[in-house]
């Protein structure tokens, strides 16, 4: 346990070392939040709700998704793929710890830092500039749980995508496509209920929705009781399935590795 704590702390420090980058990222995320908010407001000026989203929920939605973007790392977590290409992965595999657990601890440390120093300020911008609603206090345990699960799904999915580098020499192509797909399927481009009906339903069931769309719905208080439990269960299911799949892929990948000594 001590080991994972120390690894996570290193992950935290990887982010905290570059303060200007944190401010820059925060500014960019909040700016996109404002721009997206105006587009959704223009839609809702013509009708009261779309798929259960009214004006308040829609504006809250864009700021919460922008806030969660960095912690779940929808874009560009390529640490392992980079190390596979450079060959550094051989060193990682030497370590007497499981690569997935080790990466997860680093990822958790980084996400924790982003949650405190990026997500909270973005939400604050939303509250001040657009008066977005904060989750009610009695919902806080559910919010903590849903965000934790979102980060876990984010890690598990990235890990799987990163491992593909063992099979493809050039994994940048996969990363580009995964980013574009995730952009829509996570609900970042527009909230999933704004998509035409069959697509919206399908997208809601895929793992990307568990990273942004679903947790943000929970934060907005759109789900209660059994429905809430269902959302959390689906998130947990995706986390477990993807983590196990990652573990299996890792065992296949390590069996393939040939290290050229030097």
């Amino acid at each position: 346990m001590r080991l994972w704590w120390e690894v996570a702390r290193r992950g935290w420090r990887q982010r905290s070392a570059y303060r200007a980058a944190v401010v820059a990222g925060l500014f960019t995320n909040a700016s996109f939040g404002a721009l997206r908010a105006y587009v959704l407001l223009a839609v809702l000026a013509q009708r009261d709700t779309v798929g259960g989203f009214d004006e308040t929920a829609a504006v809250g939605f864009v700021f919460f998704t922008q806030a969660l973007l960095a912690p779940v790392m929808l874009f560009g977590w390529t640490d392992i793929a980079d190390r596979v290409r450079s060959g550094d992965i051989a060193t990682d595999l030497y370590r007497p710890v499981d690569l997935q657990h080790y990466s997860m601890a680093t990822f958790a440390g980084r996400s924790a830092f982003e949650l405190v120093f990026r997500s909270l300020p973005i939400v604050a911008v939303g509250v001040v500039a657009f008066r977005i609603p904060l989750p009610p206090v009695d919902l806080l345990p559910a919010v903590v749980l849903t965000v934790t699960l979102a980060v876990l799904v984010g890690f598990a999915l990235s890990f799987v995508l990163n491992l593909l580098a063992f099979w493809l020499l050039d994994s940048d192509g996969i990363a580009t496509i995964a980013t574009s797909v995730g952009f829509v399927l996570a609900g970042l481009a527009i909230p999933l209920p704004f998509l035409p009906s069959p697509f919206a339903g399908i997208a809601q069931a895929l793992p990307w929705a568990s990273m942004l769309q679903r947790p943000v719905e929970v934060m907005l208080g759109l789900h209660g009781g059994l429905e809430l439990a269902g959302v959390l269960a689906v998130q947990a299911l995706w986390a477990v399935v993807l983590l196990l799949f990652g573990q299996w892929l890792l065992s296949r990948a390590t069996a393939r590795v040939v290290v050229h000594g030097g």
Partner: protein, 267 residues
């Protein structure tokens, strides 16, 4: 200046030849870039399955705006987006090597990182533009053709200015490069939508601070006969080319100022 452009062309041609050697890789990347950009337009189209218009503009009209704005952005990105590598160059100290060569730093950076695959984004914007022309059934008077063409050219210059000015931030704040995305990609996102939907301060910002309105919104509104909201004098549109050139000169001045404050780490 003429020499500089000639050398830029030679360097870029060399990059193109080298990237063309790996044809499959190039095609995959170009398709990826096309798809990545396409997804963005698909999301915008989805909105029109829920409502008939956005800020008073129909789907065809928004698509036309998106095409014009997107084409200017894609061409600028194609030509100079790699000046964004400045951040990495300053950080790892390799920027110094550029200063030793008898060629401008902007020319070197944009030629060196030239990526042929960015043509995918140009293709996407072109497709959207063609789609919108089929939807709109406008009568194409010479005036409309001229204004649209000039708008795309102005857009290229304005976005190139934004790429340069925001990349130059790295001269002052090494890790601040991500701020640039808010103005480059954010600026493009902003002007893909009719400015009518934004708050007044944002419209003024996009007209008078960073002249994005000249890159697409004002000329497109003129071509489509759309009313322009309060806060933007519509006749300003005719100043587009002057504004675009001024923006580029201003961006270059920012870059030069950054270059003067640059202190090498000396390692």
């Amino acid at each position: 200046m003429v020499d500089e452009l000639r050398l830029w062309r030679v360097l870029v041609a060399a990059r193109v030849r080298s990237q063309w050697q790996y044809r499959t890789s190039f095609l995959l990347y170009a398709c990826g870039s096309f798809l990545g950009a396409l997804v963005d337009f698909v999301a915008l189209s989805a909105i029109f399955t829920k409502v008939p218009q956005l800020g008073g503009w129909s789907f065809g009209e928004v698509a036309f705006l998106y095409g014009v704005s997107g084409l200017g952005f894609a061409l600028a990105s194609f030509a100079v987006a790699s000046v964004g590598n400045l951040s990495r160059r300053v950080k790892d100290g390799t920027f110094d090597s550029l200063l030793l060569r008898p060629l401008g730093t902007i020319t070197q950076l944009s030629a060196e990182g030239f990526a042929l695959r960015r043509i995918g984004r140009v293709a996407q914007a072109g497709c959207v533009l063609v789609l919108s022309l089929m939807l709109l059934e406008l009568s194409w008077t010479p005036g409309r053709v001229a204004v649209t063409t000039v708008a795309i050219a102005c857009g290229t210059l304005v976005y190139a200015a934004v790429f340069l000015a925001t990349a130059a931030i790295s001269f002052w704040v090494i890790d601040g490069a991500e701020v640039g995305n808010a103005f480059t990609y954010g600026g493009n996102y902003l002007s893909n939508q009719p400015l009518d939907i934004y708050a007044r301060w944002l419209r003024s910002f996009a007209t008078f601070v960073i002249p994005l309105a000249f890159a697409a919104y004002l000329p497109v509104a003129w071509v489509l006969d759309k009313p322009v909201p309060a806060g933007i004098p519509a006749d300003l549109m005719w100043a587009g080319p002057v504004v675009a050139v001024a923006a580029l000169l201003a961006a270059q001045a920012v870059w030069q100022a950054g270059l003067h404050t640059y202190r090498s780490t000396g390692t």
